[in-house]
Symmetry: C2
Subunit: 216 residues, 2 copies
């Protein structure tokens, strides 16, 4: 018996299962009937709580994805404040760690990145939410932070592109697991995940142009 069968009310169970299914297979590919089967409830319950399928999808973002994204961001700031130096190195490393390890479980991170990738590849109303509530504020804060500590004052536009490059890798190594596994010949075990995190940190630190070849 999963915890979802009894410990939460129907509305929450529907949201939990809907998120898993939408993340794995996308909005259109998932039927309400599949969701209610996973949530052990009735078809009409979805329409009672959410009106229509589209609203259920949006509610997954409002009540699940966005709060979770904010948890990751909060974990980053907390980790950063524990650091003594706020060098570019520290910031990039802390940032990558927050998104690659951070407060989420493996399963949560997978769901999260799948939904993020899907919305960016094929925007719906949810993308507007994500950008306004999650991406826009965080990018502004991080760009501001980095701008202060970067040795040469890099242009803000360049900085934003670099941050996008960084997140594109974090996203890619999460959502394209199958391809990455085939190309590298490595399974996503703890060992490989540590290698990946190191790689992304190193690649982005160099990409930001603050590390000389001789330093490492």
């Amino acid at each position: 018996m999963t915890k979802n069968e009894t410990t939460e009310n129907t509305r929450e169970r529907i949201l939990d299962e809907a998120e898993i299914l939408f993340a794995r297979r996308g909005y259109q590919a998932v039927s309400i009937r599949e969701i209610i089967q996973a949530a052990h409830c009735n078809l009409a319950a979805v329409n009672y709580h959410f009106g229509q399928k589209k609203n259920l999808y949006l509610e997954v973002f409002r009540s699940r994805l966005i709060p979770r994204a904010k948890r990751v961001q909060a974990a980053f700031w907390e980790s950063l404040h524990k650091e003594t130096s706020h060098s570019v190195d520290t910031i990039v490393r802390t940032l990558t760690e927050a998104f690659i390890h951070g407060p989420l479980t493996e399963e949560e991170r997978y769901l999260h990145n799948q939904l993020m990738a899907r919305e960016q590849a094929e925007p719906s109303e949810a993308l507007e939410l994500i950008i306004r509530e999650v991406m826009q504020p965080f990018f502004t804060e991080i760009a501001h932070l980095l701008h202060q500590v970067l040795p040469e004052k890099v242009e803000k536009d360049t900085l934003r592109l670099s941050l996008l490059s960084m997140f594109s890798q974090i996203l890619y190594f999460s959502f394209a697991r199958a391809a990455v596994t085939r190309i590298t010949g490595r399974e996503y075990d703890d060992d490989f995940k540590a290698i990946l995190a190191d790689h992304i940190v190193r690649f982005c630190l160099h990409g930001l142009g603050t590390v000389r070849r001789e330093d490492k």
Copy 2:
């Protein structure tokens, strides 16, 4: 009247329109009825030529995406052979240029990257084709090439991760246009596309660890 209404046979028109629709909205979200409407033919024609929807989807990859990917790769090798020096800088620049400008039209590149991103995020039988015919051979060739010219002999595993980091950016800046536009405040005009290409080249060159800060 578009060229597709008369100049090609039904089978080719179906494939052309199917690719556009699958790229934009994904396999499940596109109905055969939409495809035949765009291809100006009858419902039964799809089943006559391809048997079932899934085969039509796979045929899009076999007859459209894979040959096009090989054209891009061929264009890369051709550009590279025109270069006098085969430094890491030249290779990375030529590689990025081939995928960001290269032989494809803007529309083709968009379709291509959408389909690539979709398959990697949610693999079907088509991913196996893509990996075997497109990614695996190209990655092996490029890794071999770079391994020869990199100043320090970087491990092959690290090199593959760096190449994946590079392609993740090329892919991201193509499929996540809406988000990139919102974050950067820039439309995808020729000016911005040139900036993007420069950014990716610079970021990846540094990421490969072959450029010192002072060099640029």
